[in-house]
């Protein structure tokens, strides 16, 4: 997927974040959301390795080895940020004090089940903070490509990969669609400006509920 599409996903998710919310962004497309968060809304980014108030990357030569983001790269702290240890960081996550987490996914299904940490036999990077984030955050937003590299749907009827967490996903945003997970099923609330409902349905492996009034993004 090209950068334009990745940025489209990030931009749409940024619009969803309410004022004064505490947000954790995962690695990959979720990280791109940072660039679209408007200033002055009081939104603070939580970094699971131990701080709230993640700022922009530092200028070359200004890196502080004692402050990195969750990917291990040099980071900065915004004014009003604060630092803590990992136990406190995960108390924030697990204790329901984190408003939003934005994560990537390998598969998401109709029940809001999420698989994003392993492909058995192929890909075993580990779990990191993904299980705690998806269980603990008040809102779990998935940012991902609509289909896999091989063109297979990533939004499926039932996840086939090992689950990161059952029934925790609230929103799925891809380059094609904005989908809300509800007790009734997946509701297609918006489609991208360059696609059609038919195209979205064709590339989705799960049942979609299509309301009369459909938004565009």
């Amino acid at each position: 997927m090209d950068d334009h599409m990745r940025l489209r996903i990030a931009k749409r998710i940024a619009k969803e974040l309410p004022e004064n919310s505490i947000v954790n962004l995962g690695i990959g497309i979720p990280t791109l959301v940072t660039d679209f968060i408007p200033e002055g809304k009081g939104i603070l980014l939580h970094s699971e390795n131990g701080f709230i108030g993640l700022g922009a990357a530092p200028a070359a030569g200004e890196e502080d080895p004692n402050l990195v983001n969750a990917g291990g790269q040099a980071a900065t702290l915004v004014p009003g940020g604060c630092c803590f240890d990992s136990s406190m960081s995960f108390a924030i996550i697990r204790g329901g004090h984190l408003d939003y987490t934005v994560l990537g996914a390998l598969e998401v299904d109709e029940e809001g089940n999420l698989a994003n940490y392993t492909i058995p036999g192929k890909f075993v990077p580990g779990i990191g903070g993904a299980m705690d984030l998806s269980v603990g955050a008040k809102n779990v937003v998935i940012a991902m490509e609509h289909v896999s590299k091989h063109g297979e749907p990533k939004i499926v009827k039932k996840c086939s990969l090992p689950l990161t967490a059952p029934r925790q996903v609230n929103l799925i945003v891809t380059e094609m669609a904005f989908i809300r997970v509800t007790p009734e099923g997946l509701v297609l609330e918006e489609i991208a400006e360059d696609t059609t409902v038919e195209e979205v349905v064709k590339k989705t492996g799960a049942e979609l509920i299509i309301p009369e009034k459909l938004g565009r993004f």
Binding site: G50, C83, D85, F90, T164, A165
Partner: protein
């Protein structure tokens, strides 16, 4: 007052078969010089307990490549390919734990608790073989305490009693690990007299620290 040792002296009592906690998140707040001494010493059959395996050229992976690690317990091994390969080949037994569960199991061991009840991992492979308990109508997974023979942790500044300060995001797992091992070795970039460390800026109270090891200042991305 706590003994001040060289990395070699600090590593002296770490013998074959020991379990060793290593603080740090990737390169940040990651001990290095005692790990290097451990490598030089040739100690083997180690159980390493650390959030991640950091980068390929650094401490834990050096030990792994030399065949000194029999088990690794942590949350993430994706920073390099080595551990994944050793896991697949069966050379190193790997236990993956969700990061929040990992730190809380360590903290539980250090805090005298018999375990942690967490919703994390319910309905996933992590729950296999573990007890599920219902408390006030909500389900939780019982996760047991995780302790070690040794912990190697890191701070920026310590006084001679072992009170220590770790800046920014370098506190990470160092704090919980300092509570959870029989012997705790603190790598510190600076050692000061009692009274020279602001008591309001103590990240680790001195009670947890057994040995101080003065080390060089951290360099971005190195450890």
């Amino acid at each position: 007052m706590k003994p001040v040792k060289t990395p070699q002296q600090a590593a002296e009592n770490i013998k074959d078969g020991a379990s060793v906690m290593i603080g740090g998140f990737i390169s940040c707040g990651r001990p290095s010089e005692v790990l290097e001494a451990l490598f030089e010493k040739g100690v083997k059959d180690l159980t390493i307990i650390s959030n991640d395996t950091s980068k390929e050229e650094t401490g834990i992976i050096k030990l792994v490549l030399a065949g000194r690690v029999s088990k690794f317990i942590g949350s993430y091994i994706g920073m390099n390919r080595i551990m994944g390969e050793k896991m697949k080949s069966g050379e190193v037994k790997v236990e993956l734990v969700p990061q929040g569960t990992f730190v809380e199991r360590v903290r539980a061991a250090g805090a005298g608790l018999g375990g942690v009840l967490t919703p994390t991992g319910l309905g996933t492979a992590i729950a296999e073989g573990k007890e599920v308990m219902t408390i006030e109508g909500k389900k939780y997974l019982l996760e047991k305490p995780l302790r070690a023979d040794f912990a190697i942790v890191r701070a920026n500044k310590a006084d001679k009693y072992g009170n220590a300060f770790a800046a920014g995001s370098s506190k990470n797992f160092n704090v919980a690990m300092a509570m959870a091992a029989d012997t705790v070795i603190l790598e510190t970039e600076e050692i000061v007299e009692p009274g020279q460390l602001d008591p309001e800026k103590v990240t680790f109270p001195c009670v947890f620290i057994d040995t101080l090891v003065p080390v060089a200042k951290a360099v971005m991305g190195r450890n």
